[in-house]
Structures are given as C-alpha cells and as structure tokens.
Amino acid sequence: MASKFWTQGGSDTEEESSDYDSENDDLTQTDDPAQTAGNRYLTVNASDSDDSDTQKRVVRSAKDKRFEEMLVTVDQMKNAMKINDWVSLQESFDKINKQLEKVMRVMESDKAPTVYIKALVMLEDFLAEAMANKDAKKKMSSSNAKALNSMKQKLKKNNKQYEEVINKYREHPESEEEAEDEEEEEEETDDSEIEDPTKLDISDQEGVSEADEPDDQESGWMRQMTKKDNLLAKQFRDPKAATWEKVNKWFKEIVAARGRKGTGRYEQVEQLAFLSQVAKTPAQKVEILFSVISAQFDVNPGLSGHMPVSVWKKCVQNMLVVLDILMQYPNILVNDSVEPDENESEKGLEYTGTIRIWGNLVAFIERVDIEFFKSLQCIDPHTREYVERLRDEALFLVLAQNVQDYLEQTGDFSAASKVALRRVELIYYKPQEVYDAMRKFTEQSEDNGEEGEESKVPEEGRAPTMFIVTPELVPRRPTFPENSRTLMDRLVSLIYKHGDERTKARAMLCDIYHHALFDEFSTSRDLLLMSHLQENVQLMDISTQILFNRAMAQLGLCAFRVGLIAECHGCLSELYSGGRVKELLAQGISQSRYHEKTLEQERLERRRQMPYHMYINLELLEAVHLICAMLLEVPNMVANTNDVKHKIISKNFCRLLEISERQTFTGLPENVRDHVMAATRALTKGDHESAFNIIKSLDTWKLLKNKDSVLEMLRANIKEEALRTYLFTYSSSYDSLSLDELTKMFDLSEVQVHSLVSKMMVNEELHASWDQPTRSIIFHEVEHTRLQALAFQFTEKLSILTDSNERAIEARIGGGGLELPMRRRENQDYAGATGGAGRWAEGGTAFNQGRQGTSEGRSGYGGGRASGMGQGGGYLRDRAGQARGAGGYSSQVSRVSHMDGLGRMISLNRGVRV
C-alpha cells in the first residue's frame, strides 16, 4: 500500500515514464526519497527558514509527513460527509488548502497532488448531490446550511484553478488502484469470469494510451469509460467474435444492477451506451438504447432537480438514433402492452416478420419534455445559461416531430396526438416574432449543426465496435412552416381528432391562447365557449387549470387590444378577485399574510411554476385590468351614487379606490395602481385629457405590439366614458345642453355623442330627450315630493324585510322554491373565501374541499333554477339585458349552458355586493 502513496506523490512525469510494477516500486522506495529529499531540502531551506529545524531533523519524511497530514484531512472530510456535517467539512477544506500549499512547496511542483484533486472531485460530487437534494437541504440546521452555501462558493472558486486537472481526473479516475473501489471490483470479479491478469493488462494498456495522448480531451469513447466498460471493451475487442448471447447477457446483467446500491448512475449509462455500440441486431440495439435512455433519466434522482443538460442532450440523440433504426426497419414494433419474447431481439437483419420490443416512445418524449421544462424552471432566467438552454428547444422539437411522424406512420394516432400536444405546448405562447426568431435560429444553426455532426461522424467511425450502423434517416433539423398558426392548426386538429379528453382540453386551451395572442378575439372566445372549458376546468388537474388561467389572461389582453373593454374585464376580473394572480398564473410564489404555507405546499407550488420566458407580463395585465375596471366602474359609480344597492362591477377596483381616497396626501403616481387611481380621479371630474395622459405615461405600454392603435382606442374609450360620467354627475345642474357644446368638451364627433347620449336615454340611465330643432338635450328631472320619497324608502325596506324573511325561513326549513338567492350566496361565500379561481391553490386537501364546494354549490344552483325558475330565470334575463356587464360575454354556442356560466360569474360579483 505504501507504494501507492509514492506513486501518487510522484509527479506525473514519473508515472509516464515508469510502469509501476512491484519491483519498480521497490526501487523507487529505495532510490527516490534520497534523491528528491535532498533537492527539496535545499529549496525548502532557501525559501522557508522557520521550518528548517524540523526539516533538518526528519529529512526523509518531509514529503511523507505533508502527505500524511493531507490524507488525515481527507479522511476527516470523508467522515464529515458521511454525517453530512458541513461545518466540519468546511474546516477540513480550509485545512487541506493550507496543507496543499505546504505540499506544493515541499514538492516543488506546480501541480496539485492527486490526493488533493481526488478530494476536490469527491467534494464537488457530494456538494452537487447535496444541492440537488433539496429536501435534505431544508432539513439542515441553519449553521449547517450556511456552511453548505459558503462551501459551495469556496469550492467553485477554488476548483477553477484546478479545472483542467479535475476534468482529467474525472475522465479516468481509476488510473490508479483505489481502495474505495474495492466493492465494485469485487462485484466485477463475481460477475465476470475474467481473471486478474486481464485486469492488469487493461490497466497497462490504459496507462500506455494515456501516455500517448494525454491532452486529448475528446479522445473518444474508450477514454471516457470506466474500468468496467473497458472490461467490456476488452471482451468485445474483436467485435466480430461477440455474439448476440454475449451481448444480451451483459445487457441483462447491467440492467439488473440498476437501482442497486453501489451502481453508479453515470457508469451504468456509459456501460449501456457501449453495449449499444456492439449490439448485434437492430432490435437489440433498440432494446439497449431504450435502457440507455431510461438510465439517463435515472441520472437525476429526486423530483425537484433537473437532469444535467449534457445528459439530456445525449438522451435526445439516443432517441433520434432509436428512431433511425425504427425507420430503417419498419418491422420492429415498439409496444409496452405486451411482454415480448425473451429472445425477440435475436432476430437479425434478415428476419422480416414483426419484432416486438418493449418500450414506450411517448413516455420517453414526455419525460424528455418534463426534464427540459424542469431545467428551465431551475436555471436562473437572467443568466446566459438560460438562453443557451432555451436554444435546446429546437432539439426537442425535432425529436418530437420525428416521433410524431413515426407514430403517425405506424398508425398510432392517439400516441401521436400526445406528442403533438407537447409540441403545441412549446409553441402556443410564442408570438409570431418569437416564432420567427426560433425558426431563423434553427435555420442559421444549420451550418453549425452540420459541422457538429461531421465531428461526430469520425468519432463514431472510430468506435471500432459500432456494429449496427444506422444512417441518419430522420431529419435532424426541425422544419417550421412560415406561420406559427399553420403549425398550430395542423397539430391541434390532429389532437382534436385523436386525443383523449385531457389532451384535447389542453390543446384547446393552447389554441385559445394562441388565437388570443394573434388578436383574434372572437375566434378564441368562440373556442372557449364551444368547448365548455370554463365549466369543467375545476375538475381538471392543476397544471391544466393554470393553463386555463393563462389562456383567460391572454384572452383578456387580446380583448383589450381589440378594444372590447367589457369583455376584457369579464376575462380578467376573476383572476384578480382573490389577489393571487401570481399564484394563479404560476408566475412566482405569492406570500400570503394570513396563511402560512407548509414546506410541502411550497414545494408543490414551485414545481408548478412557469419558466420565465413564458410569463405573461403581470404589470401589463394589472394595468389592463384596472383600466378596464375604471372605464366600466366610474360611470357606474357616478350613476348610482344615491342607490344603496347599486351593482358594483369590479370589487377589486372599488377597494383600491377606497384605499386611495383614504390617503390624506396623494403623491405622484409611482406604480400601475397609482396611475390608474390618478386617472380615475380625473375621469370622475370628466377630465378626459388628463386621465388619458396619466394612463399614457405608464411604461408598460411599450410591451404592446400595436401600442399606438391601442392607445388611440383607449383615448376614445376614455372620452366616451368621461362624457357619460359627466352627464351622470352634472345632469341635475343643467336644464339643457347643446350637442355642439358636448362635442367640443369631449372632442368627439357629433355622431358619437348623439349615439352615446341616445343609448343612455333608451336605457333610461339619463332622464332626458333630444330637442331636434335646437340640437340640444333637454333634461327632465323629476323631483319627488317628500311623501313620495318616503314612500319609496318604505317600499324598499319592505322588500328587504321580505328578503330576510325568506332567508330566515330557508335557513330553518331549507329547500323550497325560494332558496335561490341564498344558495347563490353560499356559492359566492365559498368563492370569496378561497379567492375566486384560486380554489386549487391550497394544495391537496383544500383543493378537494374546494372541489366539493363547487359541485355542491353548483348542484344547489341547478336545483334552485329548476324549481324557482320564475325568479332565477328572470334574474338572469335581467342581467343579460344589461348592455354593459359581463353580458357581452354571453351566449355563443350553447346559450343555455353559457347562461349557467354567466350566472356563476355574476354570482361571484354579487357575493361582493350582498
């Protein structure tokens, strides 16, 4: 064992020159120390006079001692790792660094000793593992976690110096016999009946090849393999000699080792990858490649971390190779329903019958997508890494495209539709510009890509054992149509035809989102209403609900862009009713003041997050929502100042307005909310110009494509609402108003003013009529006498009394024809409590409750409607009769069922009022 230290201590030059046989070892033991010690002594003396005493005394052990110390420290570190004690680990790390200095000095070399490098590698791995394992991280004590973090920093910094060496070490860690490997070796000897000599032989060989090209980082397959692979390689050195049985046996063994303790995940991947090279039949190759892919998925344990990017890429490549083979040999069928024959894959090239192989392409594709998504979730979006990662999207798209084509060829349309959905989900949120950019990027990178492939080809050629050579049949570049819409249409129609319910629902939502993105409001609204998604989305899984919320948000934005204020508000108000937009759109985690989330919940939520590039800009969304609410609410508020029971259109807006009115001093507007509030104050006075200017000064508008036209639309809307507000507020102060005056005041055309005012008259919002010859409005204000006013008050109170009677009776008896209002209120209370669409937000239990609540509320509602039709129906009709409310949203395909939905939405609003 002592010899090992020597060789380790010895610089690499030594290693290169000498094959360390035992005799050699002896030699060095005798000669070497004297030589080197002498030299070192001198230099040490020269540089460091303090230590000279001790050095003098134990001349020979100067080097030894340092090494000994270092080893002790390494041992300490190992112990610390075992108990996950980062504090002491940190200490040891500092210590080892100090020792390193000394050792280097002693050894006079600028190369760090292997022991140190090994320690570093070990540390790095352990750290990566610790970082990936978030659960454990959370459980750590605070001092420990702190140490972990500082350790991370330090190690990163430190390792940079030794990057090259570490990499080298990683490539062939087993160049020396290691004690730690004993376990594995044992296994090896057990499993394989290879005698020791061979082993020796291999290590020899390795040493030689290393000496030959020590700097060649990409020296190909063989190099990167662990010892075991080399054993394999050895066994299959003569590839012709390898038989199917042999390969199969190895394959079975490796697969059996999967998940066993002590099986390195990377190693397994590499072993399998090697095996795939020597596979004897295409079927076998496919079989092995499937295992490679699953093993690659295994590389990353735990749900929260993501698969390393490099592994992901390799995984995609493997999938492509699988597809190549499948395309080349159409008689190979991939299926996961039947357990195939043991020796199915033995059938070779000449076999023409169908060969069944166990596997599921769709599951793989989905997993690949999930890993991609997760990596985007985890990577900090402000780094370059994120951008780099995003580019891999094209890689995935090409894979998905190929798989889909393949599945379509084999006639498995339902599976193809699943894959199509994955593609849809990568495309749906991209506006045309982004889509174009992606398309251009893939086209541009074509040249680069080819280069990359070229460099890959010789590599494969060099692998001597590559048996089943597969031409690249499937295209390696994604093909995109000019217009993302055409692509969407193609994919989506496939899904609608063949997909299952969930796939269809998701595709539909993506479709809606995409249409909305392209400002096709009516199309996407029709899709939404036709699919009845808003009615049963609560029964779907959370990720679909998030997608639904996103689609609604985008639909709202779209409505705003095309100038449909009421529709926009209808879409967005529910999102904003609970104040949990972030959570509903899965764009960041909102902290609730009243409700502490458990770790579990938070983790779940984190897992649901959208990647950054898919975000819908919240500031813009808020601005749009508030502006819509303002435009609707301000005239409504002013019109009904005297009416106690008047309907509130946007509760959220009213609350904000109250808060802002309560402030004693209002400063300059800073955020979106302030801006809108300031605009509201101007609008209430009928001052449309300043209202518009305040809104215009928001800088979120730059996010809009057609900013100018949107602002123009806003200006027109603000003017109109200002006119309405003005008329409501000041009509009592006028006896008549001329049309010209109004057109001048509000900078509107005569036709517009006439139309607006006429509308108000017809709707009996304004008690006035035109005097045509003089072109003026005559107001008829009807003053009630005191008695009449009192009588009105009286009747109002009476009806309130009856209402409460009804409620009381219902509470006692329950049921009956008059239960409707009450039921509805319950429904709202529930909605209010869980925050509108935020029902799912509570995680597991609350979600279930929420669901029950919904279904209860709904059934109650339905029942009430059936029995108390007179009232319920009338109510709904009244509602629908209002030109402005959410009514604009009403009735497309199924007017009846939509009425239901409408009722629900309204009932939400009503909960606010009652």
Partner: protein, 437 residues
C-alpha cells in the same frame, strides 16, 4: 348585388334538387352570366338522374343539337336501372295500388309485415326495393311518385335510420312540388325526430339542424304564417346556437322575419344582442340596419342601409319572390319590409326626442311631406304614438312620458304579497310535516 348573394353558402346545405329553384331565380335576376349558371346546372344534374333535362341545358348552353356521348350512355344506364328497380319493387307497388288490399293494412306495423309476408310473399327485400325505387324516382325528378312511395315505405319500414332518410326525401319532394302544407307537416315530424333522437354524435345532430333550417326557408317564406314560425323555430335556443356556430348567414332571414313581424317583440331585444355579437362573423345590410337602429342609434346610417336592404331583398331567392298580378310584377315582401323598417326608425327616433321637425321626418322616412304627415297622423290616431303635430312651427311634439310615481310604487310592492304568501304557505307546510311526524 352579387356580394350579398347567399346561394353559395346556402346550397351546400340543400339537396341537389332544392338548389334548382335558387339557380332559376338567379338566372332570372341575372346576377351572374347565363353560361355560369347553366354550367353549374349541368354540374348539378350530373349526379342526379335527370339526364334529359341536362341534355336540354347542354343544348341551350352550347347552342348545338349534339349531346355528349357520356350523357347518352348515362341515360341508357338510368333507364335500365329504373327498369330493374321497378321490377324489384313491383309486387309491393301493385299491392299498394290496389285499394282493397291496402285496406287490409292496420296501424300495427308488425302485423302488417307479417301479413304481407304471409299472404303476398312480400318480404324485407321488396320493402327495401320500394325505398330504392322511390329514391330513384326522386332522382329522376318524379317527385310526386317519390313522395307517395316514401310515404308508403315509412309505414312499413322498421329501420329508423332508413325511416329518417325517407322523411328527408319526402320533405324534399313536397317542397319541390310546392305542397307547403304537407311540407310543413313533414317538417314538424322531422324536427321532433331530430330533437328527440339520440344521434350518434352531436356533430351529426348539428348538421341535421342546419339542413333543416335551410330547407325550411322554402316553406316559411311561401307560407302565410311562415314568418312567425320561422322566428319560433330559429329562435329556439338550440337552433339559434346552431345558427351562431355554423350558419350565421341565416341571421338574414331571421332578422327579416323579426322586422316584418310585429308580434315577437319580446324576443327581439335578445335577438339584437345576438346580431351585435355575430357582427364579426356575418353581416349584411339587413343585420346592419338593425344594428344601426338599435345599437348605435345612427339614424342616418339606418336610412342608408334601408336602401341597400331593398336591393338585397330583391336579389334574394327567398325574400324577393315576385308576384305577378295582372301583368305587374311586385315583390310584396319588399313593401312590407320597408314599411316596417320605417316604423322601426321612427319609433326609436321618437323615443329619444321631444321635438322633431317635420322636415327631418320626411327625410328620414323617405316619404314626401304630405305622405309623412298622413303617416304620422295615422300613427297618432292609432295611439301608437303619444304626440302632437304643431303645424305652426312644423314640428312634432312628443308627450314626455315619465314613469308615474304611483305606478312605480305599485310595481315595487306588487311582488311582495305573493312572496309573503308563499312564505306563509311554506311555514304552514313545514309545521304540518312536523306535526305528522
């Protein structure tokens, strides 16, 4: 006016034979070149068995006496097939033509089948042959024969799918023979089946509804009572939804029906909303007219649209039906439409005005002064309008109609007693159930 022609949108939803009347109309109106229409007629006929007719058209189109060979061949083929079908159906046809034997049939289908089988050796094959024969007759243009056979077939048929298509065939035949009353009967029968039947897919049902609606256009615009019925049918939720999703062009007919029909005002407001919503998917002068009057209150616009409407009506095969009376051809529908549209404009105009100059009325209504005055007076006299004419200043003065305070009060309290009664009865009921327990 070709831009407003709906034939291309309607035709796919009609039976081949039903398209003929439309093409005839277009030819008469000369919206398109004659050749085009003749060509499309031949195209249309190529799939039917009316080969003789196709030959005639061919002759007139190319001004020759020669007929293409394939037509001649096809004619022979058709005749042969007709013969063979006739033979196959012969036993049953002879049976049915014999009034004595027909009397043996009873209301019970199974009995009938049994009886036919036992006594006349008429089995399912013969019945099936009857269907084929009827179908072939229809395709040859012999509608009355087809209608008869189909009627008989329905009485004997047990297959519901077949029965349904027989019904469609019967309806088409009746329409083509212009038996509007009989057609209406068939229509109602069909409607019931469509509503009740559990179709294989909702899509199928939707398609049937669309067809039904298109086919009914023939009936409703030729039947006296049709305008009310069209509103009743089209405005049913299911059918309105169908219109909105798949056939928005039908909105033209529904709007027209609403305009000329004074009785369905309650549903009218709802309908205005539908029009507003569907503006993006379909609009023509008629729907735009409604939007002008009831959504935007743009009376000048409405007036312009009214003129366009007139042309649309004239060029529409269903609306612009001509009536020849003593050599003068009139389009009765147009006059009716214009009158009602005028009334609409004026009514709405009055609602938001207190004083209107007579001149404006004249201009808005497209009438001359005298006529306008007479028109207004008749309105006032018919107590449709609460107004007075001030000849001095040449204006019409509206009486302000404020809601009466007392009426309002009564309205407010009206429902209270009913609700209270209900409450009381509930309490009593509850008490009783408690007592009996």
């Amino acid at each position: 006016m070709a831009q407003y022609d709906l034939t291309p949108r309607i035709a796919p939803n009609l039976d081949r034979h039903l398209v003929f009347p439309l093409l005839e109309f277009l030819q008469e109106r000369q919206l398109y070149p004659d050749e085009e229409i003749l060509n499309s007629k031949i195209e249309l006929l190529s799939k039917t068995n009316m080969v003789d007719y196709a030959m005639d058209i061919h002759k007139s189109l190319y001004h020759t006496e020669d007929v293409p060979q394939d037509m001649v061949e096809r004619r022979a083929e058709v005749v042969a097939r007709l013969k063979s079908l006739e033979e196959a159906a012969l036993p049953l046809v002879t049976f049915l033509q014999n009034p004595n034997s027909v009397q043996e049939l009873r209301a019970d289908k199974h009995y009938n089948l049994q009886m036919l089988n036992d006594r006349y050796q008429i089995g399912p094959q013969q019945i099936e042959a009857l269907y084929q024969y009827a179908k072939f007759q229809f395709e040859c243009g012999n509608y009355s024969g087809a209608a008869d056979y189909l009627y008989q077939y329905r009485a004997l048929c047990t297959n519901s799918e077949r029965s349904l298509s027989a019904l469609w065939g019967k309806l088409a035949a009746e329409i083509l023979m212009q038996n509007w009353d009989a057609a209406l009967e068939e229509l109602n029968r069909l409607k019931e089946i469509i509503n009740s039947k559990n179709f294989a897919s909702p899509l199928n049902q939707l398609q049937s509804r669309i067809w039904l609606m298109h086919w009914t256009l023939f009936i409703f615009f030729n039947n006296d009572n049709g305008r009310t019925q069209i509103i009743d049918l089209f405005n049913e939720d299911k059918y309105l939804n169908t219109i909105q999703t798949s056939a928005p062009h039908l909105l033209r007919y529904l709007s027209t029906a609403f305009i000329v029909n004074k009785r369905r005002r309650t549903q009218f407001k709802e309908f205005i909303k539908v029009i507003q919503q569907e503006q993006h998917s379909y609009k023509d002068p008629i729907t735009e007219f409604l939007a002008c009057v009831f959504v935007n209150y743009d009376f000048d616009g409405a007036q312009k649209k009214m003129k366009e409407c007139e042309e649309v009506i004239l060029s529409d095969p269903f609306l612009g039906k001509r009536v020849e009376e003593r050599g003068i051809s009139t389009v009765p529908f147009r006059d009716e439409f214009l009158e009602n549209a005028r009334l609409f404009i004026f009514e709405t105009y009055c609602r938001i005005h207190r004083r209107i100059e007579m001149g404006v009325v004249v201009e808005k209504l497209n009438l001359d002064h005298e006529e306008a005055e007479r028109w207004v007076v008749s309105l006032i006299r018919g107590s449709k309008l609460d107004a007075k004419i001030d000849l001095d200043s040449g204006t019409i003065l509206m009486e302000p109609n404020h809601p009466n305070v007392y009426e309002q009060l009564i309205d407010h309290t009206k429902t209270l007693s009913g609700r209270t009664y209900k409450l009381v009865s509930q309490v009593m009921e509850h008490a009783q159930t408690l007592a009996t327990r």
